[in-house]
């Protein structure tokens, strides 16, 4: 096959991939913004993992918007206007400024008939201790000037049912239900809360965009309806949308920055647009293919992969640069076949070491990191193939520039720099540099906080904290999972937990909790309560009736009560509760892993002493604290702690490749520059106070693979037998260009707003810069 035919074939294949990509673009590239999706399963218990997912879906779709104004009427008007406008179009649903009036009959329907099994804790204690006096208790109810009566006094003459109802009402936060509005009044401002839900999956691009657009429209209308209104919002959808926007901004900045930078640098070196076009074509082919392959295989791209992919340009273009440098160096003697043959060994060693480094990354069980690694594997292989098959056909004519004149500057720079790094002076410089690193190494601190993964918009985080403090709603990343063999056992186990939580609430370590057993006590508890009432209240029906008549009740009413007690024997069950609209806000608490697994969730509100709350499950059967953020952080820490041995293993594997090619002694000198660079890079982290994270470690791993390329290129280009004099300058130029383009790609990530990318970029940029500086150490001399 001729060179040209092969080029056309490759271009044809590229065209098909581009068409596929265009097809994907039309449908919208599925971009994953959920951090959890990027992480491995962190819970040992698969049920817990499932519950985390179902709970975050239930709670994650919630949207809370708070309207604050000095005038109560304006705050309400703003809330009404927002709900009408934002809820009037698609994006958000179930938006309510004013909650529908709850039907008091619902409470009676669910509980009143079976109320004799329901007792507040204080009443149960009083009855059990024998302190109960029917006469005093009834009279106290009668003389109380006001009270909340769910039932007529004659049906609840001792107030047991009323007090139980009060005990299950939520007590956290400063919000009150007033006239259907959720209102908080403080410091001369009135705040009104509007609750709604995202219409669709919070992490779905389109649903996210619609929800945010609906919010913006509503907020604008609210501000117009009530000038001066202050609007706070929170909800996973806002964080996800802002993270996506930040990643997109990063990607734009990095892609545009690196393309401009690379173009300028390449033009300065080659004085021609052709190498730039070829380089971008080669790198572009790699990135295009990687994007299409991963979307087809994985179904979606994680946003971290996207930001990473943008910076892969810097590495993918290296192969084309080496090829174009060879073209320049050959001058009039250029043949494409000869050029390919000349760069082949260097490219193979370089690609092999990089692939090795990325494969190691791909072995990490992090779906996100593994996707990044696979993206790089596909991208680099395609970029390399394009240099082998595509570029030769497009670069057939020899360069007209004088090779010596064009590369002389690079040759001189290399000579001067190698002269500095030669002999005993080099050893002294290396030792001094390493000594200077020591304080930096000692200052290193690790940080495995999972929040580093996502850029949390600080303004949104403030609004979120303000709303949570006021509403008592929690993000739900930490909760108790209660399991048992059946419904009754789950409820019974929950009761033990809830008792401890109540103690914590009393001592101020926690402000509240939500548990199904508060609404539906276990059957055994209901039966025990009923038996207790039977013993202490209804034991002697005659006396009870007489007492009720004495305090003033009509005879019929006094007689009806014991009769009703006799009839009401059926306890309230979870399915009764689930069937009632009253359970709507709490349904996610029950059977969170599906109906087949008897389990429930107890959520926490306002944890002020996390350590003591975590202790609440100690020694309780079937109760576990699920803390997704903590277990993910622990996992990140575990992988990070394996990073040093991991890096060592990667270096060793590369050493094996190098030994095969160069022999033992030379292989070590090829590896020394990059190892030295890593040592310096680690010290930079210490000096700059940047925490060591798994992502920094990933950066160092990749840096190892890329940094060693420069030594390889230099050695292959200059120390190879039969290299012409001009090769020295051309190779030096190629290596410098490669490092510059990589710095312009990955290095720009160091300025990313995403902490994970920032750490990654910083580790990589410093390693690359160091590798370039020390690369001449690998030359024979």
């Amino acid at each position: 096959m001729t060179l040209r035919a092969r080029s056309w074939l490759f271009l044809g294949a590229l065209g098909i991939v581009a068409a596929l990509f265009a097809g994907l673009l039309v449908r919208g590239v599925p971009l994953q913004t959920n951090v959890l999706a990027m992480l491995p399963a962190s819970e040992r218990d698969p049920v817990a993992e499932k519950v985390v997912a179902s709970l975050s879906a239930a709670i994650g779709s919630r949207v809370l918007v708070l309207f604050s104004h000095a005038e109560e009427a304006s705050a309400k008007a703003a809330a009404e206007r927002f709900a009408a406008v934002a809820g009037g179009s698609e994006g958000l649903r179930a938006l309510r400024a004013r909650l529908p009036e709850p039907d008091p009959a619902l409470l009676n329907k669910l509980y009143a008939a079976n109320r004799f099994g329901l007792l507040a804790e204080a009443d149960r204690e009083a009855l059990a201790s024998g302190r109960f006096s029917a006469r005093d208790s009834a009279l106290q109810q009668i003389v109380s000037p006001m009270g909340v009566a769910v039932l007529p006094l004659a049906r609840d003459p001792f107030g047991f049912f009323g007090r139980w109802m009060l005990s299950i009402l939520p007590g956290a936060g400063t919000l009150r239900l007033e006239d259907g509005y959720l209102i908080a009044r403080e410091s001369a401002r009135t705040r009104v809360l509007v609750i709604g839900e995202v219409d669709g999956d919070v992490y779905d691009n389109a649903a996210q965009a619609r929800a945010v657009a609906a919010y913006e429209r509503g907020a604008q209308a609210a501000a117009a309806a009530a000038p001066g209104v202050e609007i706070l919002r929170t909800g996973t959808v806002f964080f996800a949308a802002s993270a996506r926007a930040a990643a997109m901004r990063d990607m734009d900045r990095i892609a545009i920055g690196s393309i401009i930078g690379i173009t300028l640098v390449m033009f300065a070196a080659f004085r021609s647009l052709r190498p730039i076009a070829l380089g971008l074509l080669s790198a572009g082919a790699g990135i295009l293919a990687a994007t299409v392959v991963l979307v087809l295989v994985d179904g979606e791209l994680h946003l971290v992969t996207l930001a990473f992919g943008a910076s892969l340009i810097g590495e993918a273009i290296d192969y084309a640069i080496l090829f174009c440098a060879a073209h320049l160096a050959a001058g009039s003697r250029w043949t494409p076949e000869g050029g390919v043959a000349q760069v082949r060994p260097a490219l193979i060693v370089a690609v092999a070491t990089s692939l090795l480094a990325y494969s190691l990354l791909g072995l990490l069980p992090f779906p996100g990191v593994s996707q990044v690694a696979r993206f790089a594997l596909v991208g680099l292989v395609v970029a390399w193939l394009s240099v082998q098959w595509l570029l030769p056909g497009l670069l057939t004519r020899p360069s007209r520039r004088d090779p010596v004149a064009a590369t002389d500057w690079a040759a001189r720079l290399l000579s001067r720099w190698s002269a500095l790094l030669r002999g005993p002076r080099a050893a002294v410089a290396v030792v001094l540099a390493l000594v200077a690193c020591i304080p930096g190494w000692l200052a290193l601190a690790a940080n495995d906080d999972v929040r580093l993964l996502v850029p949390r918009d600080p303004e949104l985080a403030l609004e979120d904290a303000a709303i949570r403090a006021m509403t008592g709603f929690d993000a739900g990343s930490r909760f108790f999972l209660v399991r048992g063999t059946n419904e009754e056992e789950v409820l019974a186990r929950e009761v033990f937990l809830v008792q401890r939580l109540r103690e914590l609430e009393h001592s101020g370590a926690l402000s509240g909790h939500q548990a199904v057993s508060d609404f539906v006590p276990p059957r055994a508890v209901q039966e025990a309560n009923r038996a207790l009432m039977g013993k202490r209240v209804f034991a002697d029906r005659e006396t009870l009736t007489r007492t009720l008549i004495e305090v003033g009740f009509r005879a019929e009413a006094a007689k009806a009560l014991p009769a009703e007690f006799e009839r009401a024997v059926k306890p309230v069950t979870v399915s009764d509760w689930l069937a009632s609209p009253l359970s709507t806000p709490y349904r996610h608490l029950w059977a969170p892993a599906g109906d087949a697994v008897p389990a429930s969730v107890v959520t926490l509100i306002g944890e002020r002493d996390a350590a003591r709350v975590a202790q609440a499950a100690a020694g309780l059967d079937g109760v576990t604290l699920v803390d997704k953020a903590a277990s993910v952080s622990a996992l990140l820490g575990w992988y990070r702690s394996w990073s040093a041995p991991g890096l060592g293993a990667a270096a060793l594997m590369m050493l094996i490749v190098l030994v095969v090619r160069y022999g033992g002694r030379a292989a070590v000198t090829v590896l020394v520059p990059v190892v030295l660079a890593e040592a310096l890079s680690v010290a930079v982290f210490g000096y700059a106070g940047v925490p060591v994270t798994l992502f920094g470690v990933v950066g160092w791993t990749l840096g190892l693979g890329i940094g060693v390329n420069y030594s390889i290129f230099l050695r292959e280009g200059i120390d190879r037998p039969g290299a012409v004099g001009v090769a020295r300058g051309a190779t030096a130029m190629a290596v410098m260009l490669s490092a510059c383009t990589t710095l312009l790609g990955f290095g720009l990530l160091a300025f990313s707003g995403v902490p994970a990318l920032h750490h990654f970029g910083l580790a990589l940029a410093t390693t690359i810069a160091g590798s370039l500086l020390f690369a001449p150490l690998s030359l024979k001399g």
Partner: protein, 199 residues
């Protein structure tokens, strides 16, 4: 703040109904502590006869309202801004309500009425005053629908002090409270303060 606005208007223009309400409340809220004896008469559905009770009340601007029933049973209720503390015949103190639930709102209303707290009253009721500063009556109609569901209206009457409270519930239960033998003090007695301590 609203009260200040009312007073400002009163100073600037001719007397109006709002001005009367503001003046009444301002005057009622003047003493640091007011004590009185009360007789309460409740008409409750399913009861043969009105339920009578007697006792003492102490309204402190600082602590809140102390409602002490002496007969026919001993019961003390202490209404603080955020809780109602109940002390039964056995002397055991317990929390009757706490936080944001409905019972505390009722406690707040009680405090608003007995303590003549303009802000609390205006937040929950449409208030209209009639009569003169020496002999007035105030009609309170609940505004939030949760309250309106249980409460029809409250009528207050008095002169220098609040003398009568009539409460009409939607269930047709009614309560009439008459206050008399007023005395004014600078602060609550130590034994009264005991009732406000959290159990």
């Amino acid at each position: 703040m609203r009260l200040a606005l009312v007073l400002l208007l009163a100073a600037a223009g001719p007397a109006c109904a709002d001005d009367l309400l503001g003046s009444i409340l301002k005057r009622l809220a003047e003493p640091p502590v007011v004590r009185a004896r009360f007789v309460q008469e409740r008409h409750i559905a399913d009861m043969e006869r009105p339920a009578l009770s007697r006792g003492r009340i102490a309204v402190s601007r600082r602590e809140g309202v102390l409602w002490q029933v002496d007969s026919p049973v001993r019961l003390t209720l202490a209404f603080t801004p955020n809780e109602i503390i109940e002390t039964g015949a056995d002397g055991v103190r317990r929390l009757r309500a706490q936080g944001r639930n409905a019972e505390t709102q009722i406690g707040r209303v009680m405090r608003g009425i007995l303590g003549a707290d303009a802000e609390t009253l205006q937040a929950s009721f449409t208030a209209t005053a009639s009569g003169s500063l020496e002999r007035w009556s105030i009609r309170l109609v609940p505004r939030p629908r949760e309250m309106a569901r249980a409460l029809r209206e409250i009528r207050l009457g008095g002169g220098r002090h609040l003398e009568t409270i009539e409460i009409e519930e939607t269930s047709d239960n009614t309560t009439a409270i008459r206050l008399r033998q007023f005395s004014i003090a600078d602060q609550l007695a130590a034994e009264e303060l005991e009732f406000f301590k959290a159990p």
